[in-house]
């Protein structure tokens, strides 16, 4: 066991309070923030206790007020927003609303620890990390001890590093080391793993869980993902529009949710059991404007809303025969059964409407055994994009500032067939985005070959729709821009623009809006409309849903599937999330450090992953009933990729030959496992793995 006891016995010192007194107490907490002169109530009466030693998962979508709650707990509401706070908020015995500034500062110093979302921007870039930890820990020895406790290797050496010299996972561990300095009674973690790779995310969650157990401090774990909360929380609180919708023990909330919103969130969550063949379940979109509504804030989106919900604000009563479990819904008792009923009806309707649903998964080309050994072959008929040993090298500055060659792609051979949808999956540094940019013609390859359409026939949709739309152009201008080439008259042009907007589910009224006036989901729709107004042969998507809330992401994924079916496009979709890849892709290609490590049909690959890295990725996807996996190490730096199979230093089944330069880096076709011995069965043409063990271990 790691040494996580604080060096000084301060936190063990008896306090006047009983041991199970909540470390934080919120009573009817209301916070108003003003922006551009208009004030709006962000927290609208929150009652919550956080107990010592528990991890409380606070779950909500963007705009729910969860981050404001975190800042209020810290007494750090942004002064620029002229915050007005009412109600009661005590943290470790200190009144964080009306307490003296000095008292609140001492509470932050002694009783509170914080982990923010992005460790790169949350650490001072010009101060050595050691010094930053010392500021919280008091001495260098204590700082080293803390860094060791959170699993930073060689802490003495890391003390002298600047934040930009550390990897993302290490930076977040440094943040956690600062948070636990001095033995806090409450750690507030605001989306601490959202900016990290999936395999690193599970490690960081593991550290937080262990620290909570070892130090006995409470942890408020804020996240947008019920799966993440499910993995480490003892209790879950679901927040909607500044109020708690549901609070209860983790298992109860996840398995027997009672608030329609929680049910909706759970239903729009993707996992490996989600039905691939019908459109994803979605929540009714949030009404535009976000103006205050009377009654339950969720009623405009709620399928169960009755008259009472429009008029009255539901309290948060504990449910009968369900101690500790409360839901703010008048229909909490019947909601689950009623919602399941509605869900069944919807599913039946979706089944009936299937022909107009997403394209049927492309048929695997059985019998074409040589499909993956295509180094010597040009693009075959039916193949729209093909790459051969594609390489892409950049010269970059390494962490010490020296010029260094970076091989983003190290020999990628890939055929993408017309009409298929291929999901490229990998963590940061895998080269997935570089590959997409090369396919788009935005980036020149430095080696290998590529054949495929260029120009307008290839369109791209980016992660951050806000940044990829020119801010001063209206939606009309953004869309008409792409209609220049075919000489169209005004009326025809207008008709096409309106049709394109309609196909992505946006009203004509959006035409004269500028990107800043649209919500994130709407902007991504405009980006899609722009890409498809002149139907491209290939649509390239770079994580278009990763910045969106779950319910919005499901809408956008459905939309991409529908457009693909209607327009007969080929789709290449880059994502770090295998559950998204499985929904969107007929095939999935897994990348690690510039190479493909596994490729196969989505169902086969998820059901029977052969590469150890694919297995790690699959196990790292937070699921509702999944234990935290143990994955070693972080993705290696693309500046110094390990020899042979780049994954071998992290691989649990690596043998000596894995480090050999030339083994295990070529994709080798493999057969489906169930029928017959693997080597003799006819290999499924589109299934291949780059592992010397072929997934036999």
């Amino acid at each position: 066991m790691l040494d996580t006891q604080p060096a000084t016995p301060e936190s063990a010192a008896p306090t006047a309070e009983a041991p199970d007194t909540p470390v934080a107490t919120l009573r009817d907490l209301r916070v108003s923030l003003s922006r551009d002169g208009t004030s709006s109530e962000v927290l609208r009466g929150v009652d919550l206790d956080i107990r010592p030693g528990e991890v409380l998962g606070l779950v909500g979508e963007s705009g729910s007020g969860k981050s404001v709650l975190a800042l209020a707990l810290l007494g750090l509401l942004p002064a620029g927003s002229a915050p007005r706070v009412a109600g009661q908020l005590r943290v470790a015995g200190v009144d964080m609303v009306n307490g003296a500034e000095e008292e609140r500062r001492l509470a932050r110093r002694e009783s509170l620890g914080v982990v923010f979302q992005d460790p790169m921007t949350s650490l001072n870039p010009t101060m050595r990390v050691g010094q930053q930890v010392v500021e919280a820990a008091g001495s260098a020895d204590e700082a080293i001890r803390l860094l060791r406790a959170v699993g930073v290797p060689e802490p003495e050496r890391r003390m002298r590093a600047f934040p930009h010299e550390l990897s993302g996972g290490l930076r977040q561990r440094v943040m956690i080391a600062m948070a636990i300095a001095g033995g806090p009674r409450l750690i507030v973690a605001d989306e601490p793993t959202t900016a990290l790779d999936v395999t690193v995310q599970s490690q960081v969650l593991g550290v937080l869980r262990r620290l909570s157990d070892d130090l006995g401090c409470g942890v408020l774990m804020i996240t947008h993902d019920l799966g993440v909360a499910g993995q480490i929380a003892d209790r879950i609180a679901v927040m909607y529009r500044g109020r708690l919708a549901e609070v209860g023990p983790t298992r109860r909330v996840l398995n027997e949710p009672r608030h329609p919103y929680t049910l909706g969130l759970l239903a729009s969550r993707l996992d490996f059991d989600t039905d691939r063949d019908s459109p994803l379940r979605t929540l009714v979109p949030e009404p535009a404007g976000g103006a205050a509504v009377a009654g339950c804030a969720y009623h405009p989106r709620c399928p169960l809303a009755v008259d009472r919900c429009h008029a009255e604000l539901p309290g948060l009563p504990e449910l009968p025969v369900r101690p500790e479990h409360s839901a703010a819904c008048f229909r909490a008792e019947e909601s689950r059964d009623r919602l399941l009923e509605i869900a069944h009806r919807e599913a039946a309707a979706a089944d009936a409407a299937k022909p107009t649903g997403p394209a049927e998964p492309a048929e695997p080309v059985v019998g074409d055994a040589t499909a993956v050994e295509r180094e010597d072959r040009p693009a075959r008929p039916g193949v729209v994009l093909a790459t051969t040993e594609l390489e892409c090298r950049f010269t970059v500055r390494d962490r010490r500032g020296r010029k260094a060659p970076l091989a983003a792609l190290r020999g990628v051979t890939l055929d993408i067939e017309a009409g298929e949808s291929l999901a490229l999956v990998g963590e940061s540094g895998s080269g997935k985005s570089t590959l997409l940019r090369v396919l788009a013609g935005l980036q020149k390859a430095t080696g290998g070959g590529i054949t495929g359409p260029t120009g307008g026939a290839v369109q791209m949709v980016f992660q951050d729709a806000g940044a990829s739309l020119t801010p001063w152009l209206t939606v009309r201008e953004l869309l008409t821009e792409r209609l220049r080439r075919p000489r169209l008259d005004r009326a025809e042009r207008h008709r096409r623009v309106v049709a394109a907007l309609d196909s992505v589910g946006l009203p004509e009224a959006t035409l004269d809006a500028r990107p800043a006036e649209l919500s994130g989901g709407q902007r991504q729709r405009v980006a899609l409309a722009r890409a498809t107004i002149v139907p491209p042969r290939v649509l390239l998507c770079d994580e278009p849903t990763s910045a969106l809330d779950v319910s919005l992401a499901a809408h956008v994924l459905n939309l991409i599937q529908r457009l693909r079916a209607e327009l007969g496009m080929t789709v290449v979709f880059v994502t770090h999330d295998l559950s998204v890849a499985r929904i969107i892709g007929d095939r999935i290609a897994v990348m690690y450090l510039g190479r493909l490590v596994e490729i196969g049909s989505a169902d086969e690959l998820v059901a029977d992953p052969r590469h150890p890295y694919t297995r790690a990725l699959l196990s790292a996807v937070p699921g509702l009933d999944v234990e935290l996996p143990t994955i070693e190490g972080e993705p290696a730096s693309p500046l110094a990729p390990p020899s042979g199979c780049a994954y071998h230093p992290r691989c649990p089944v690596a043998t000596e030959e894995c480090a050999d330069t030339l083994t295990g880096i070529q994709l080798v076709p493999i057969g489906p496992r169930p029928p017959g011995p693997a080597r003799t069965a006819p290999p499924s043409a589109r299934r291949a793995v780059a592992c010397v063990h072929r997934g036999e271990i």
Binding site: L76, F116, T121, N124, P125, M127, R402
Partner: protein, 332 residues
């Protein structure tokens, strides 16, 4: 902070100085002034001029003459002034300390005012608004107008401060540094230093106001941006006091934009000093240049230009290097 970082900055410093020398040489070449004729005066015979040209090496090929010129720069030979008939280096040597003292003092004053300007509004000090307003209004006036205004108010009306020169009763420019304030202290004569300071105050203030506002505004806006940074929020969350936050986390991260603005402003100050010197009858390079330009004394003008240009380049290189010291991500 790497050796390579210093190396590249040093190399670009040398390269810029070479470019400056080429520009000055070309200007000298294409100017209508014939050095030989100018040296010998209007009465010289064509033969005498031709002989002088040969003596000065003016009839060789341009590349050779440039190399001579460059060699001169390296050995501190900037040619001979047509007007004073003395080596330009010597002339500059006698005028430079006065200008240097004025600019240095004005520079410190500008930094101080800039710092006050930025911090007063960031930390919401009392009276910050008045200070900012005053600085703002003063900086809208051209430097010479500001100088004349100061003369009228502080000399003519109030008679608090002297109006011209570097010291009362003539400048004693024979001290070891040539900077009167420093020399006074070195010689154990604080009264002389105070006297020099009193003479410095008005011209330095006139010179400092513009740069102070420019640097202060840049520093203030980056202070404000930095105060909203997430790592400052982290520092607050650690429970650090506001002063520790500003000193340890905000200042160093805000200083970079201000540093590059400072480098630029030093250059502008050397340009502005020429005007201020003539308003306050300051016996510096400005008055030397002012006397040299009307008589087309090209070696003198080129020499002063080279010195000022070199100071400008060195100041900006220093600002660059300091940026690297402040932010390890720059020093790559």
């Amino acid at each position: 902070m790497t050796f390579r970082f210093f190396g590249t900055r040093l190399a670009s410093l040398v390269a810029l100085l070479l470019v400056l020398s080429v520009v000055l040489f070309v200007l000298q070449e294409i100017s209508a002034t014939d050095a030989a004729a100018a040296t010998l005066g209007p009465t010289a015979s064509p033969e005498a001029i031709a002989a002088e040209r040969a003596r000065l090496g003016l009839d060789g090929p341009p590349v050779g003459r440039y190399l001579d010129y460059l060699g001169g720069l390296f050995t501190g030979d900037l040619g001979t002034s047509f007007r004073t008939k003395r080596p330009v280096t010597e002339d500059i040597g006698s005028y430079l300390p006065a200008t240097l003292e004025l600019v240095l003092f004005a520079f410190l004053l500008a930094l101080l005012l800039a710092l006050l300007f930025a911090l007063s509004s960031t930390l919401r000090w009392r009276g910050a608004g008045a200070l900012r307003g005053l600085l703002f209004v003063s900086s809208t006036a051209p430097t010479f107008l500001l100088g004349i205004f100061f003369l009228i108010v502080f000399y003519q009306q109030l008679d608090w401060l002297p109006a011209n020169g570097r010291a009362s009763g003539g400048a004693a420019t024979d001290g070891p540094t040539g900077l009167l304030v420093v020399d006074g202290l070195l010689a154990g004569d604080p009264a002389a230093s105070v006297d020099a300071l009193r003479h410095l105050l008005l011209p330095a203030l006139a010179l400092a106001v513009g740069p102070a506002l420019a640097i202060g505004r840049v520093f203030r806006s980056s202070l404000r941006t930095t105060l909203d940074a997430e790592y400052v929020r982290t520092a607050r969350a650690k429970g650090l006091g506001e002063r520790a936050i500003v000193v340890r986390h905000v200042a160093r991260n805000s200083v970079n934009a201000a540093l590059s603005m400072t480098g630029l402003q030093i250059g502008f100050m050397f340009a502005g000093v020429l005007v201020v010197e003539s308003v306050f009858s300051w016996p510096g390079l400005g008055s030397y240049l002012g006397a040299s330009i009307p008589v087309s004394d090209f070696p003198a003008v080129a020499g002063v230009t080279f010195v000022l240009g070199a100071v400008y380049i060195v100041a900006n290189t220093a600002a660059d290097v300091l940026q690297g010291v402040a932010d390890p991500r720059v020093a790559v």
